[in-house]
């Protein structure tokens, strides 16, 4: 259980505590009845109840963290703050949370990390993009422009204004011998000449760098004393012994690769040089840092965070929390796409469960079952199909009942209602209209798909659509924020959850899911699925119970108010400013269910005395 929770936490940056609570509640409720039967019914529940509950039930309540008329995938400043604040509320004390939230927001905004590419870099390189100083109050924490390297200058020659910097990953002084090389010395004079040549060569390289305007040398290795000496002589600052992560960060943000003075000639242009606006030493506590202002070559605007706290451990905690928060934010840009109800799918998901849960394979992309046509659907699938149509019409009814009063709920922003209307079209004309709508993308990719569709038999139709949807997803991701505005993903009606979906914190997701799981469970005839649905729906309530447990009758009041509003189709009574990512929450529920399946399928635990060997170990080959 702990391993699953940690795996989930490291993938989504959020939800380890909720994971354990929910898992415990589900397992606790499953003690009665046959665990095997329950485990077998879980995939069906997920496909037929859970996904529909999220895709249809939850959708009108969702808000988007992306601004309505904005340029696509960019987090709104207010939404970012609300997400961070709510995230930190479960992790930091009341005295620190506000300050850390503001720091996180400032860092995101100044790095340009409200968009996915820069956020990905910030998240992946956060360890190098923050520094900690103990012995100071939290209020002294700052976001600084540029990058802090945990090194001191080996040589520091102050230089004002813009300058060039090169990155090297080997020593600039030539050596007489290398590994496996033998150097024969025939006379003392020769040896001295060789050493003198090494020195002269080092100076020549340094002179060349300096004449090319390079005033800063960033080295991934320790440089020879002579290199430092000549650097000082020529006014070049040197930072050496950079870690491989720091070297990678620099080459990533400045877009340069390591410089290598090739061969005997030290002529030629130095192409791989970064532009640096300032470079100076910085003292944080007893630790010396090198503070360098790189001008960015990409979407990421280099900024770093200096965290201050009375004790180091607190800084570590703040850093880990912010890192988790950025991981969570990164998940916000992902969407969940719908799975097909076709036959192959049940095997697919079963094998997926067997091989263990992995977050990357979790976003499976298939089309709606209605689009698949009816010819291939087996008898027991028909029931599901019928159920689905019924569900959709009831959904439409819901939609209609909202529209006449002319006040669509505040929680349904523009893109969503647009998508819903696409959905209605699809339902009206039994899916055939949908394909052209999908293929409107003017890319060559889709051209090939049209051709492919033409040659495809009716039976392959479904898979063709499926792959188009997959492609749409990939295109949307690949193009990044520039083109997402015109809406590849938006015109793709097959997603369960759109990127950027958020809900207010405080158990609203769980209550809504509880309500809609019960709602959709009624439409499934299979008794095992109904049982599971009730178990999961009730288990979901354990989260708001834990949240409101401190107040007397807090939970009962909250539950009654919310369900009352849902029954009357009124907007939810929300007095919460904090937001949470629905993607993370949905991922949490599915990974809990996968963990449950795994656990329920275990029938024996065998303790072993020796450490388990990984199967890919080489010594297993020796047996043959």
């Amino acid at each position: 259980m702990a391993a699953c929770a940690c795996r989930h936490q490291s993938a989504t940056g959020d939800g380890a505590k909720t994971f354990v609570l929910l898992l415990a509640a589900v397992l606790g409720a499953m003690r009665e009845g046959s665990p095997r039967r329950a485990a077998r019914a879980l995939p069906a529940f997920e496909r037929r109840v859970l996904e529909r509950a999220v895709a249809r039930g939850l959708r009108p309540h969702l808000r988007s963290a992306f601004p309505a008329g904005g340029p696509g995938e960019e987090l709104e400043a207010a939404a970012l703050e609300a997400l961070l604040e709510a995230y930190l509320r479960g992790r930091l004390g009341p005295g620190e949370r506000r300050a850390v939230t503001l720091l996180g927001c400032e860092l995101c905004a100044r790095c340009g990390a409200r968009r996915p590419p820069a956020l990905r870099l910030l998240c992946g390189r956060f360890a190098q993009l923050h520094a900690a100083a103990a012995g100071l109050p939290l209020a002294r924490s700052r976001v600084l422009p540029g990058v802090l390297l945990r090194r001191d200058f080996a040589a520091y020659c102050p230089a004002g204004g813009r300058l060039r910097a090169v990155l090297v990953t080997r020593c600039l002084r030539p050596v007489l011998t290398g590994p496996g090389v033998e150097c024969a010395v025939r006379s003392e004079r020769q040896h001295r000449a060789a050493l003198r040549w090494c020195g002269g060569r080092t100076e020549a390289v340094m002179e060349h760098l300096r004449s090319g305007g390079v005033r800063l040398l960033l080295s991934g290795v320790k440089q020879h004393e002579e290199v430092i000496f000549y650097a000082k002589l020529h006014g070049v600052s040197v930072v050496e012994c950079l870690s491989s992560e720091e070297v990678a960060l620099i080459s990533e943000i400045a877009g340069i690769s390591p410089y290598d003075p090739a061969g005997d000639s030290v002529q030629g242009e130095i192409a791989e040089a970064a532009v640096v606006t300032f470079c100076q030493p910085l003292l944080l506590g007893s630790q010396r840092y090198v503070h360098i202002g790189f001008s960015s070559a990409g979407a990421f605007q280099p900024h770093c965070l200096v965290l201050c706290a009375p004790v180091d451990a607190i800084n570590e905690q703040h850093a880990a929390t912010l890192h988790g928060a950025f991981t969570m934010l990164l998940q916000l840009f992902r969407a969940v796409d719908q799975e097909c109800g076709a036959e192959g799918e049940s095997q697919n998901s079963a094998s997926g469960v067997g091989s263990g849960y992995s977050p990357a394979t979790e976003t499976r992309v298939v089309t709606e079952s209605i689009a698949c046509g009816s010819s291939q659907v087996s008898e027991h699938q028909l029931g599901a199909c019928r159920g689905e149509t019924a569900a959709q019409s009831s959904d439409l009814a819901l939609q209609e009942s909202e529209r006449p009063d002319g006040t669509p709920p505040a929680s349904a922003p523009g893109p969503h209602s647009k998508e819903l209307s696409v959905c209605t079209d699809g339902a009206d004309s039994a899916g055939t209209h949908k394909l052209p709508a999908l293929c409107e993308c003017p890319d060559g990719m889709n051209e090939s798909h049209r051709r492919q569709q033409a040659v495809c038999s009716h039976r392959n139709y479904c898979t063709a659509v499926a792959s188009t949807a997959t492609l749409c997803e990939h295109l949307g991701v690949g193009k990044g924020p520039e083109k997402a505005g015109y809406g590849v993903t938006q015109s793709c009606p097959s997603s369960i959850l759109e990127a950027g979906s958020v809900l207010p914190v405080g158990g609203y997701f769980e209550i809504l899911l509880h309500y809609y799981i019960q709602h959709y469970a009624k439409q499934v005839q299979q008794s095992a699925v109904t049982v599971i649905s009730n178990v999961v729906a009730d288990a979901l309530l354990s989260i708001p119970k834990a949240l409101y447990g401190t107040e007397r009758n807090g939970f009962t009041k909250f539950y009654l108010e919310t369900t009352e509003a849902l029954r009357k189709n009124q907007p939810l009574p929300v007095n919460e400013k904090g937001l949470e990512s629905v993607y993370c929450k949905y991922q949490l529920v599915t990974s809990v269910l996968h963990c449950v399946t795994e656990l329920l399928n275990i029938d024996l635990i065998i303790g072993v005395k020796r450490p388990l060997q990984k199967t890919e170990d080489k010594d297993s080959d020796d047996d043959f």
Binding site: G93, P94, G95, A133, A134, G135, L136, P137, L138, A139, V175, L176, T177, G178, P179, G180, V181, E182, C183, A184, V185, R186, S187, E188, R189, H191, R192, L195, R196, G199, G200, E203, E225, E226, I228, F229, K232, L233, G285, S286, A309, P310, V311, D312, A313, I314, K609, R610, P611
Partner: protein
Amino acid sequence: MSRLEAKKPSLFISEPLTTVSQPLSLLIAILKSCYGPAGRLKQLHNGVGGYVCLTSQSSAILGHLSVSHPVLKVLTASVQNHVSRFSDCGLFTAILCCSLIENFKNLNIASCTIIKISKHLLSLCTDYLKSKACGCQVSVDFSNLETLLCLVRSILTSKPACMLNKTEVDCLAVLIVKAFMYTVPCHPETKPVLGKCVTVPLKGKRVLDSTVIPGLLIETPEIQFAKPFSVKRTSSDAVKVVVFCVSMSGDLFDPEEGTVTVHHKISLEMSELDQLLNVGKQLVNDEVGLVVCQKVIHPSLKQYLKDNHIIAVDRAGLSVMEPLSQVTGSKPIASIYSLSPSCYGSLKDVRAESFASKHFVHLIPNDTTVCSLILCNRNETTWDELKRACETAEHVLQLTLKEPLALLGGGCTETHLASYLRQKTCCLSTSSSKDVECSPTQYQLITDAFCHSLESVACSLSHDGGEILTDMAYGHCWLVPSGFPSASNWSDLLSKCGCGINSSTKDLNWRHLQPLFGSSPIESCPKEPSGKVTDFMTLDCFAAKYNGLQVAVETANLILDLSCVIEDQN
């Protein structure tokens, strides 16, 4: 094959604050008894024997003390971090933090309310301390040495383990300020970096023998130099200096991978020595007067240099390399295969000097920011304590240069802040308590506990049972000498307040500081002091106290928020 050891289960301590009372009160007793000029000394030693440390400084005590309670570990780590950043006000931070925890713990109010309100109170304090109207803040004028001397004297007198009498304190304070003044560059626009003051230890001599000299002292064995000591000068009457950071021992130590094959009858060592002598020749030709090497110089080269009247100093060590290049303006040379004249530096003069039984080469520069403080004290223990005090004083002067402010010492800042807070919250409490969502009573209780903690720092200045008073006009702190009946006429007994700025008058309306819980606040804001900054005032470093206040409150809040401690025992 590795054997797996079963993991120990984690240790779970719930409600750590319930078990902390006893160790906390022990720690608070130790710290309070050290505070101030009359503080008691602590002897720290290991039962096995060896070094004995006699001190009253928080950095030494907390560094040697081993605390086992997890809550106290957080507290001491926090104070030590503060001290490593600011050198001063460690005991203030520690005592304030401990009292805050003790007083808040006894309130029985939800910790989140306490945290919110104490943060609010802290921001009132910090805003006040930074504001122009602040009554306990003194601006430091660097053209007037008196305030700087006051700052340094206050630091030295608050360290009783240095065993200094008044003349010694005055003498050392002047030396420290003088040394600091040497390190401030005359032309900051060209090089805005503070220089360095190198402390030279001389144990076993009188404190009054301490002195400050400009330039750098490098310790050497006596036998090295020819007598009479003379140095070769260039035509322009300066001494040319060259500094090597590479070894000149003639050993081949280049750790290159691969192998070097040497033919018969060829000696690379000889080759290396030849090169060293070549270097020596060039040094003679270039009229170099002094050669300093961080590492070892080959005896042959040393002799050659001596024969040519060049002073050679080797084994200088890494620590002097930076001040050495600051003093001489030379660049340390890293290769014996190329000597560039641009690396040479120059000095005004070089002399051989001896203090006590030690011999030094004294490098006298033309204009520099490097000086040497020869610090004497009677024995090892007191010297160590004095060294720590001098470092603190130097650091405090640097911090003051950055932010030219000081705070009134002698407990006056604490009592003044407390009376300011009481007065401020009295008129604010109803509106403020609404802002932080608590009842006015809770707000009042927490403010009282906060003020009481501040005052308890001032109270720890008295160690002999002498009474501590505060006046109603300025909110300053007054210490009654012990042994007087408490009902006597206070204005006769008292002459000056703790910081020495206010003199006693009849209308000051004193009262006891100790049982101030729930007392009525004064009617108006505490007044700014009547006196001027005088010669013998007690002043504290602003930056250190300001940070200490924030760190103490933040750490106390952190500790109050703990509901359980999970310790991994593996």
